[in-house]
């Protein structure tokens, strides 16, 4: 079943053929590894206030501070640690619809980043005594270690229905005695989408994750530049099995990548916030578009997919309440097969014919722009629940993007063959390029 990892840290190059000393990075659970037993939450009363005036009372856990952000919910029944550490949740207050949170504790080495990203956590019942062989602490311990507040005892069913009916909305929660202060915060709060969230979560400098990686025949793997808009660790793990991966900051340009790393292919990751934000997300979009124009193989996941959509001249828009969970059905229009996928996004790419499906009441969407890819595209995947666009294939270019998460974690593995698809696409591209070179040389 799970390969239990008793040690902490994140080392995506570990165990890859041909790699000798892969770099290790922090994992969000690391601080729990050497902590001496866990402390229980104090049981202080808390309140949760929504922008529409709704008020919920509960009990605090995690750090007993005020949390503010955009209220979203995820429907996954397990995989909370992966969600809590998913950078795409930056700026948000995360509600778990499954009422029992933390049953199996927090495990070393399975976080999706080095920290906890939601600004606050809302649930019905937090489990103070987790039970699992790999557990090194409770969710409370994890939140305390990362200075994140949580509130339990909330009627999350009612809360979810409110979000479903009104769309995602702003909220604040914290100690009951600071309710007045929180009301002020809520009045003055600006939507987190306005912040350059990608810049907050991207890496600082490019790093080669699995130097010298080879395939089973001992041949070097193609090199991939992975743009980190808030990349999940498991995406990097999946990529490292197929490519020699350079982990790149979101604002790094294609010229810089080509100059310093000479990648064979490009990958654009998931990430938080509005894909049309003028900051780091736009930088990443330019890199992605340039790579496509250059004919480089490109794959994008989640935010990476939205960036491709924008570059293709489609608008992106805020969804009513987004797709967050492990049971989102996606139909591949080519094979007519349905995959159950893991998803976490609040924005979507409009459908070229039907436009914006399931939009947020605010109507937030990007400006109309031109297709700058130098290629046409088609919608390859759609969500079978609401029909929203879930994947784009470029025509005559080795590039595709998907809105859902084939790396899972949390969630089902149904879509993981898409990484193989990209690997084959890159191999084919390199073969063809090789053949072309040979032909040219032969011709000369």
């Amino acid at each position: 079943m799970s390969e239990s990892s008793s040690h902490g840290g994140f080392c995506p190059g570990d165990g890859i053929r041909g790699v000798e000393h892969p770099p290790t990075f922090p994992d969000a659970a690391d601080p729990l590894l050497n902590s001496l037993g866990s402390e229980q939450p104090s049981g202080s009363k808390g309140v949760l206030l929504l922008a529409d005036g709704t008020r919920f009372e509960g009990t605090l856990f995690g750090t007993e501070e005020i949390a503010e952000g955009e209220l979203v919910f995820t429907t996954g029944m397990c995989g909370y640690q992966e969600s809590l550490t998913d950078p795409s949740f930056a700026g948000q207050v995360l509600t778990f619809t499954y009422p029992l949170l933390g049953n199996y504790g927090v495990h070393p080495g399975i976080s999706e980043s080095s920290s906890v990203h939601p600004r606050g956590v809302v649930c019905k019942q937090h489990m103070t005594f987790p039970d699992h062989r790999d557990s090194v602490g409770s969710v409370h311990d994890l939140l305390v270690a990362h200075n994140i507040p949580g509130i339990e005892g909330i009627d999350t069913r009612a809360l979810t229905r409110r979000v479903r009916e009104h769309g995602t909305l702003l909220c604040v929660f914290g100690p009951a005695e600071r309710a007045d202060e929180m009301e002020t915060i809520l009045r003055e709060m600006t939507p987190p989408d306005a912040d350059d969230l990608v810049a907050d979560v991207t890496c600082d400098e490019p790093r080669l994750l699995n130097p010298g990686a080879t395939d089973e025949k001992g041949e070097s793997l193609p090199r991939l530049a992975a743009i980190d808009c808030g990349v999940k660790h498991n995406i990097l793990r999946e990529l490292c099995r197929r490519f020699e991966v350079v982990w790149c900051p979101a604002s790094m340009t294609l010229e810089e990548m080509n100059r310093d790393w000479s990648p064979d292919a490009l990958f654009a990751s998931n990430g938080p916030g509005d894909p049309a934000h003028p900051g780091a997300a736009t930088d990443a979009r330019k890199t992605l578009a340039a790579a496509v124009r250059q004919g480089m193989p490109v794959m994008g996941i989640c935010l990476g997919h939205q960036l491709m959509g924008l570059a293709a001249g489609l608008r992106t828009y805020k969804l009513r309440y987004g797709h967050r969970g492990s049971n989102q059905p996606v139909m591949d229009l080519e094979t007519r097969r349905v995959h159950i996928t893991s998803q976490n996004h609040g924005f979507a790419v409009e459908d070229p014919i039907q436009g914006m499906l399931a939009p947020h009441p605010s109507g937030a969407c990007s400006e109309v722009t031109d297709n700058v890819l130098g290629a046409e595209f088609k919608v390859r995947h759609v969500n079978s629940n609401d029909g929203t666009v879930e994947g784009l294939d470029l025509l005559d270019k080795p590039a595709f993007t998907i809105q859902f998460h084939p790396e899972a974690c949390p969630g089902p593995h149904d879509a993981s063959p898409l990484f193989d698809r990209f690997q084959n696409m890159v191999a084919e591209h390199l073969n063809r390029a090789g053949t072309e070179i040979v032909t040219k040389e032969g011709g000369a």
Binding site: G76, K124, Q125
Partner: protein, 1036 residues
């Protein structure tokens, strides 16, 4: 389609396919392929399949003989070893062996019960966690997991016998995804199109796992998964079987626009608890393991595990609606031993209850934490129950202690603060549980709490605080989408919420009358699926009349708990508290209690008493049908005697007593033999025929008497013929559905009898009297709706034995025999329609219909397989034909006990039967059977009947050959034994019956039965009777 009828259908269909019948007829098997069945069911093939796709399975060896079993044990090395027979239902004949002796014993049974004579000897994974995955796949290879489930009882206890939780609680995402991948890999490899169930064992400390088995069909677990998630697995599997793909089908829960290709996600916890028959079968071995002993199950939904668990407990109807501190009275195998309620359960006994899985283990878990046991202690004692679950039970005990402590410092219901009330209710504690805990769980029981401190006081306080449950929709999507399923459960959310009534789509705008139907709860002895049939018809009748039908029930195995049977379904306990809250929430106009068996009818009086309070909260409710007053008149023995006297109806002499002296006196007055039973019971619980003073004293040792629980003592009418009548009365007219004649004499419980429609041996004048008395009883008791009467004919005189003012278990049999939709008619009459206004179809009269009981003896060791006044059957079958003997043969064949057409018959009958046995023995001889008999019987047969008979010894004589030897040697294919109630013959009878059950040899205990058996054999020799088309007409 063979994947929907359980193991029975699977076995029959695969046999038909294999012998070429299906090909010959040009019939295609759809929804499941035979290769998949073989690969899933044949242990060896299944192992190969798993190895082929790299899935780990238990090390195991398939064996076709005891020699191979012994060799396999040596190869596998260490005990315990598991024995699993191939191709059986519910793990019949399986078990865990701790040494070679046990292994040989269990394996020989297993080989016998396996349809292919094969058992699997397997490495033990005792103590591992058990997880289940419900998988669906369509013809385009779309595959989904509908539901995951985790058993609280570790491996070693059959999943049907385990407390099961959905979704799984203790696996991490990567653990879960690993098993999900494995389950999908399996369904794809087996190429199953439709539903299947995959079971895994997980070793929690290492994460190691094994694939245990695949059920390549819709199973008991699928029913649970469907009710747990709202996803109708069986229906979707059927649609897939006829060629649809999941993405083509609209999502049945969220409606148009979404598709069935999705995985349900839950925002609640589901707990299923099996319902065992040990409250009735006091002598049966309570140990649960790899074979099924439970007869049914309850399910409950809550927003926390604790809430779901306590709600499920309250649904069980075992007598204790909530956990209480354990005392010696709980250790009694008898009816009750309330006088020992002051003795705390000894530690050694408590630890036994933790160690050995039985129905008592859940109560013992909470008791252990009450007494301060640590999580690790309990885990060790229970052989590895997952700590996470133990924490939850510890939490329940802790909250209970908190309430008790509050009571000790003087808190009374009227003084409970709002925050405490919300917190306790939020943890799933019922009003009665809280009241009982505040009183410190008095020895005198939860029923006798002082006024002002009882359930009513608690409820008044809760209502004063405006604390009511919220009703949540089971929508399969955690509220992500607006759902259309009218399927709800109650929950008390904590926090500050005002007494909120949840949003119900369309409820406020509804102008229709709302009528609630109370279901019958878990399937148990005496209250089977027949009552669900009535509830479903009642809901239909309500809708026929243009009203909205609301069903309340807690049994996941039923049709009544399908969300499209009613306008709104509430999956909640059938207690006064939860039913009242639902009525309030619905603002219901009426309630129908006639169809949910004793469970529902027992609510009539308490609800009537509660009505004044509920009406102050705005509820204007009609108790539809027969009034609680009339129900009481029919059910209360003394009142009914007065009634019978007034109406000129004959009853057997009888009396009611509340003291031992009273019982003795009454028995002497009436004269032995007497029939003794507690009042207000269903299925004859605690009912016995006592031949003399000695037996009476023995009965009294176990019985509990008090003023509110009297004993009824009746003259036992020996050799009487019993009749059952199902009828409907509208106040002016009576419709008799059918008169049924029992094959067995009166005294054998009517639920266990074989009965005939129409009666075969009743004189016309008696039938006329039966009809007349039925009319008198219906009209004079002011019945509105259905009722059932049991009559006896003794020495040519008709007696009324009892009247049940409700739908009976024979309603479906009557409807299917006569073609008259009796339950539907009864419900419409109960709702106020007149019989004369209904267009009632004529009954079919061209055939005889026979109902025969099906018994669970093979699963329940320690239970005497002789029929008696206590009901023992768990189900029934029906046969129908123009000839009574052919109808009987069909019913007999359907019981799955063979009807012999050659071989030997063993006859031992009591003296008064010996002469009437002669013609039967002659017939058997004439059909080619060898007759074996004990000395006494053979002398009569030889001398008076001039028959050739082989004599053998009585078992008590201790010489060979006796009956047991002959049975074991395969020489006996039928046993006719009319038991005497004294002497060595009693023991002989017991041993023979037990062995006959184990060897699947038909065993007849009455002369009437013997006569029919001979007729059936004659029919069988003539060939299997042709099928007959049944038709049930509908009402307009």
């Amino acid at each position: 389609m063979l994947g929907w009828g359980g193991q029975t259908a699977l076995n029959i269909a695969s046999a038909l396919a294999k012998d070429g019948t299906l090909d010959e007829l040009g019939v295609e098997l759809i929804g499941c392929n035979l290769a998949a069945i073989d690969e899933a069911e044949d242990r060896d093939l299944f192992k190969k399949v798993c190895e082929e796709i790299d899935l780990p399975v238990c090390k195991a060896l398939a064996c076709d003989s005891i020699e191979e079993v012994i060799a396999a044990a040596e190869e596998l090395g260490s005990f315990p070893l598991l024995v699993r027979p191939a191709f059986t239902l519910g793990g019949l004949g399986g078990g865990t062996a701790f040494n070679m002796g046990e292994l040989v014993e269990i394996a020989s049974q297993g080989i016998l019960h396996s349809a292919i004579g094969q058992v699997l000897i397997e490495e033990s994974i005792l103590g591992w966690q058990e997880h289940e995955y419900e998988v669906m796949r369509d013809g385009s290879d779309n595959a989904i997991i509908v539901c995951t489930m985790e058993n609280i009882d570790p491996m070693g206890v059959h999943t049907g016998e385990s407390i099961v939780v959905a979704p799984q609680q203790t696996l991490s995402d990567s653990d879960h995804q690993g098993l999900r991948d494995a389950a999908l890999k399996l369904i794809r490899r087996l190429n199953i199109k439709g539903g299947c169930n995959v079971q895994f064992a997980v070793e929690q400390s290492t994460g190691d796992y094994r694939v245990i088995e695949v059920n390549p069909r819709v199973s008991r677990s699928s029913a649970l998964a469907s009710k747990a998630t709202g996803y109708p697995i069986a229906r979707m599997a059927a649609l897939i079987a006829v060629g649809y793909t999941l993405d083509e089908l609209p999502n049945p829960i969220t409606g148009e626009g979404t598709t069935a290709a999705f995985e349900p996600t839950l925002d609640y916890c589901v707990v299923k608890i099996p319902r065992w028959p040990f409250d009735k079968f006091r002598t049966a071995d309570r140990k649960i393991g790899t074979s099924m002993k439970s007869t049914g199950e309850v399910m409950a939904i809550g927003r926390s595990f604790e809430e779901a668990c306590l709600k499920a407990w309250a649904s069980l109807e075992y007598g204790k609606p909530h956990p209480r501190p354990l005392t010696m009275s709980d250790a009694s195998d008898g009816e009750t031993m309330d006088e020992r309620a002051s003795e705390k359960l000894p530690t050694a006994l408590l630890e036994d209850w933790l160690r050995i899985p039985t129905d008592r283990r859940m109560g013992a878990l909470i008791e252990a934490f009450r007494r301060g046991y640590s999580i690790e202690d309990v885990r060790d004692l229970t052989g590895g129950i997952t700590r996470w679950f133990l924490r939850r039970f510890e939490k329940i005990a802790a909250i209970e202690t908190e309430i008790r402590a509050a009571g000790e410092i003087g808190m009374r219901p009227a003084g409970i603060p709002g925050s405490e009330m919300r917190s306790w209710k939020g943890a799933g504690f019922t009003d009665l549980h809280i009241a009982d805990a505040l009183c410190g769980f008095p020895e005198s029981g939860f029923k006798n709490l002082p006024t002002g401190q009882d359930e009513t006081a608690l409820r008044m306080r809760r209502h004063e605080l405006r604390v009511h449950p919220r009703y949540r929709m089971v929508d399969s999507c955690a509220a992500e989408f607006a759902a259309v399923t009218p399927y709800y459960y109650s929950t008390y959310e904590g926090g500050s919420a005002e007494s909120g009534v949840d949003y119900v789509p369309g409820l406020s705008s509804s102008v229709k009358q709302k009528i609630a139907v109370v279901g019958s709860g878990p399937i148990r002895i005496g209250q089977g699926i027949e009552f669900d049939y009535g509830c479903v018809h009642a809901a239909g009748a309500i809708q026929d009349l243009g009203h909205e039908a609301i069903i309340i029930n807690n049994n996941p195995e039923t049709v009544s708990t399908d969300f499209d049977t009613s306008d709104r379904l509430y999956f909640d306990p059938l207690t006064l508290e939860s039913v009242s809250e639902i009525l309030l929430r619905e603002d219901a106009n009426g309630i129908l209690l006639q169809f949910g068996g004793q469970t529902a009818i027992n609510l009539a009086l308490p609800l009537a008493n509660e009505m004044p309070h509920l009406s102050t909260m705005g509820l204007e409710l009609m108790m539809e049908g027969t009034s609680p007053e009339s129900i009481d008149e029919a059910s209360d023995r003394e009142r009914f005697e007065e009634f019978a006297l007034r109406c000129g109806l004959r009853m057997p002499d009888g009396a009611t007593a509340t003291t031992p002296e009273g019982v003795r006196h009454a028995a002497n007055e009436i004269g032995y033999p007497v029939l003794v039973r507690p009042s207000y019971v269903l299925g004859g619980r605690g009912m016995e025929i006592l031949a003399n003073y000695k037996q009476l004293e023995s009965y009294m040792r176990d019985a509990y008497l008090s003023s509110d629980r009297p004993l009824l003592i009746d003259k036992y009418l020996g050799n009487a013929m019993e009749l059952d009548v199902d009828a409907v009365c509208d106040g002016e007219e009576v419709l008799i559905g059918a008169i049924m004649e029992h094959l067995e004499e009166a005294g054998i419980h009517s639920g266990d009898s074989t009965c005939f429609i129409p009666p075969q041996n009743v004189p016309d004048e008696i039938l006329e009297q039966v009809e007349e008395w039925t009319r008198v009883i219906g009209l004079e008791l002011r019945v509105r709706g259905c009722y059932n009467i049991q009559f006896a004919i003794h020495d040519g005189l008709l007696y009324v034995l009892e009247v049940n003012p409700r739908g009976s278990r024979t309603f479906p049999f009557v409807a299917k025999s006569t073609g008259i939709p009796l339950a539907r008619i009864a419900a419409r009459v109960a709702l106020g329609e007149r019989l004369r206004d209904l267009d009632i179809p004529d009954p079919q009269t061209d055939a005889v219909c026979v109902k025969a009981p099906v018994f669970p003896f093979i699963k329940l060791r320690g239970l005497d397989p002789a029929p008696g006044p206590e009901m023992k059957s768990t189900g029934e079958v029906m046969g129908s034909h123009v000839r009574a003997s052919a109808a009987y043969l069909k019913a007999r064949l359907a019981t799955e006990i063979p009807v012999p057409t050659q071989g030997g018959v063993y006859i031992t009958v009591k003296d008064e039967d010996k002469y009437s046995m002669i013609p039967l023995a002659e017939k058997l001889k004439g059909m080619g059977f060898t007759i074996y008999a004990t000395r006494g019987t053979s002398i009569v047969l030889r001398s008076e009947g001039e028959l050739e008979v082989e004599t053998c010894y009585r078992i008590a004589e201790g010489r060979s050959p006796d009956a047991l030897d002959l049975m074991r040697q395969g020489k006996i294919q039928l046993v006719i034994n009319t038991p005497r109630s004294t002497g060595g013959a009693v023991l002989d009878g017991n041993m023979m019956r037990r062995l006959a059950v184990e060897l699947n040899i038909p065993f007849v205990t009455t002369m009437a039965g013997a006569r029919m058996e001979v007729e059936a054999i004659k029919e069988a020799l003539d060939g299997i009777p042709e099928p007959r088309l049944l038709e049930i007409k509908s009402l307009n």
